[in-house]
């Protein structure tokens, strides 16, 4: 059973890895002679100009800035929302759900207009503004739920000891919220990492492209060939930083999952 689940989630990844390592001819039919394995796809991707690492760096910068900005705004929003009672909390919560589900497609033209008017085009840090805006509703909802799970008495005890709001957040609430912050952060990071449409319209300079756009621009030998192998190699390289991120963030998430379970 476990093996089945593992295959279910790892399967596509392994297939992608296989595709990236095969010669183009081997993709469509088994080769009659010679070694089907090759690193040529990776060479093609890495030898581009500007180098592939540049795009990786661009995406990392945007995703990090987005995550930081989102969490910075979402934490006070979530705390404030959790302090409210009754209709106000319910109404704002509903509004956030609505905002989180709003189709991004409808925002392109407006966003493009904003980019033009304020000179935000071709600026990676500016790109994190719409990203953070789009991630914010979901992040606030997730963190509000996390605040709601903390026992009220913990904050009461801190208030009685004379901790002001900032000190309560820093010393008591945020340390306990670590796992929730990590998982919310990963979600935001992923959304920004994968975003295509806004990046396509906001960024036109070749050296500032983010990963999804750069991958889409990889061309084949002619108009009629689609370079599957090169696509696969680029996506494998592009998901390496994500793997690294999840490995690093995994520990607080898992420890957060089990913390409440241990009762003396």
């Amino acid at each position: 059973m476990r093996l089945l689940v593992l295959l279910w989630s790892l399967g596509p990844l392994l297939w992608q890895l296989r595709t990236s390592l095969l010669r183009p001819e081997a993709l469509v039919a088994p080769l009659l002679e010679g070694n089907p394995w090759t690193l040529a796809n990776y060479q093609l991707v890495l030898s581009g100009d500007p180098p592939f690492w540049r795009y990786l760096g661009n995406s990392t910068l945007v995703a990090l800035a987005t995550t930081l900005l989102t969490l910075l705004l979402a934490v006070p929003c979530a705390y404030g929302l959790q302090q409210q009672r009754g209709l106000l909390r319910w109404g704002v919560g509903l509004g956030l759900v609505g905002a989180a589900m709003f189709p991004t497609v409808l925002l392109f033209l407006a966003l493009l207009e904003i980019a033009r008017r304020f000179g935000l085009a071709n600026d990676l840090l500016a790109l994190s503004l719409p990203y953070a805006g789009l991630s914010l509703p979901l992040a606030v909802l997730l963190l509000r739920a996390a605040f709601a799970d903390l026992p009220v008495e913990l904050e009461d005890a801190a208030r009685l000891e004379g901790l002001d709001l900032g000190q309560r957040l820093r010393h008591v609430l945020l340390p306990l919220l670590g796992p929730a912050l990590a998982s919310t952060g990963i979600l935001v990071f992923l959304a920004s990492w994968n975003e295509y449409a806004i990046a396509l319209t906001w960024i036109s300079r070749n050296d500032l492209l983010t990963l999804p756009i750069a991958i889409a621009r990889i061309g084949g030998g002619s108009v009629f060939t689609i370079p599957y192998g090169a696509f696969a190699a680029a996506t494998v390289l592009g998901s390496l930083p994500l793997l690294l991120l999840v490995l690093v963030a995994q520990r607080p998430i898992v420890s957060g999952l089990t913390r409440g379970a241990v009762k003396g």
Binding site: E153, A158, R159, E161, L176
Partner: protein, 336 residues
């Protein structure tokens, strides 16, 4: 402006209303310095609400909280210098015992050396030295309670509040800890309010008991006063185990007789039928039926019962109530 002369804590006409519901209705109470007052009552009676109002964690709808004559109304919980031990202890789960105790001191700007001195003293007093590096999750219930107490004592509070601090401990530990808790908390300068729903605990801990029901103060006094001279039927029923017998003897009058005040008497006025006996070792409890309703009687464990027992009591032990309102009726009952 109102100024009080009396030292200690004083609550004046304190009210708390949430969404049109009265959780606390015009509570007047005074607690002298060094006195331990138990707030007793069934769950939802307003005892925890009262504590939160005194601590400043919730705003009062009306009324005042005065400490040594100073109105605390405008002060934040942190400024009130109140310490509270929560039912759940509310220890910070991510900090060690030491970290839990130090956080408040650090934030209030107590210097390092002074902090260590006070920390050491409290750890020693509560025998927590060996546990200073442990996390709350690694402590037993009793140890967690001691850490919570230590944190409260380190606060050097002007008022000490305890919200059912024993309810998470097993019965035997509770009884063992009671004198310890009393020694640590009471008899200092600050007034102590101890919230509990357990009358044994209230009697064991407190100098006086304030009994609450449905947000209203029913009676306040020493345990002996509440037992012997209850203000109404609720007080009479709440205090004393097994509970008082209520007999509908005449229209408009209800007679309350405690199980320990009834005795077997050949010429007693009350005929009864035995239903069941519970043997407790030092006593036995008889469950009886009579023409005025069921009865509980405490008597000697070795006594043998006649088939048709008759019961008697002394007139001084009679408590009369209005059957509808539960108000205490003073004066003599009917002659038998």
């Amino acid at each position: 402006m109102n100024t009080a002369i009396g030292a200690g804590l004083e609550l004046r006409q304190l009210c708390r209303e949430v969404g049109g519901r009265r959780l606390l209705d015009r509570l007047d109470l005074a607690v002298a310095p060094g006195e331990c007052l138990a707030l007793l009552g069934p769950s939802g009676c307003g005892k925890s609400t009262t504590l939160r109002l005194v601590a400043g964690l919730d705003p009062a709808s009306a009324g005042q909280v005065l400490l040594d004559g100073q109105d605390l109304g405008a002060l934040s919980p942190g400024e009130r210098q109140v310490a509270m031990v929560f039912q759940s202890y509310a220890l910070y789960p991510h900090l060690s015992v030491e970290g839990n105790l130090e956080l408040g001191l650090k934030v209030r700007g107590v210097a390092g050396a002074e902090r260590q001195r006070r920390l050491g003293a409290v750890l020693e007093m509560l025998q927590l030295e060996e546990l200073r590096q442990r996390r709350p999750a690694q402590l037993s219930g009793g140890q967690r309670q001691r850490v919570a107490l230590a944190r409260a004592l380190l606060r050097q509070p002007r008022i000490m509040l305890l919200d059912e601090p024993m309810s998470n401990l097993d019965a035997q530990l509770r009884e063992e800890l009671r004198p310890e808790l009393r020694r640590l908390l009471c008899g200092r300068e600050q007034p102590v309010i101890y919230v509990t729903h357990d009358q044994q605990e209230a009697v064991g801990m407190a100098d006086r008991i304030a009994l609450l029901d449905a947000g209203r103060l029913q009676q306040v006094g020493s345990p002996r006063e509440l037992y012997a001279d209850p203000a109404n039927r609720f007080v009479a029923c709440f205090l004393g185990r097994p509970a008082i017998n209520l007999l509908a003897i005449a229209p408009g009058r209800q007679l309350g007789l405690r199980p320990e005040h009834l005795h077997l008497a050949e010429d007693g006025p009350l005929a009864a039928r035995l239903l069941r006996r519970e043997w407790w070792g030092h006593q036995q409890l008889l469950w009886l039926d009579s023409r005025w309703g069921p009865l509980r009687v405490l008597c000697d464990p070795e006594v043998t019962l006649p088939t048709e027992p008759r019961l008697g009591w002394q007139r001084q032990h009679e408590l009369w109530f209005d059957p509808l309102s539960g108000a205490r009726l003073h004066g003599q009952g009917p002659v038998w």
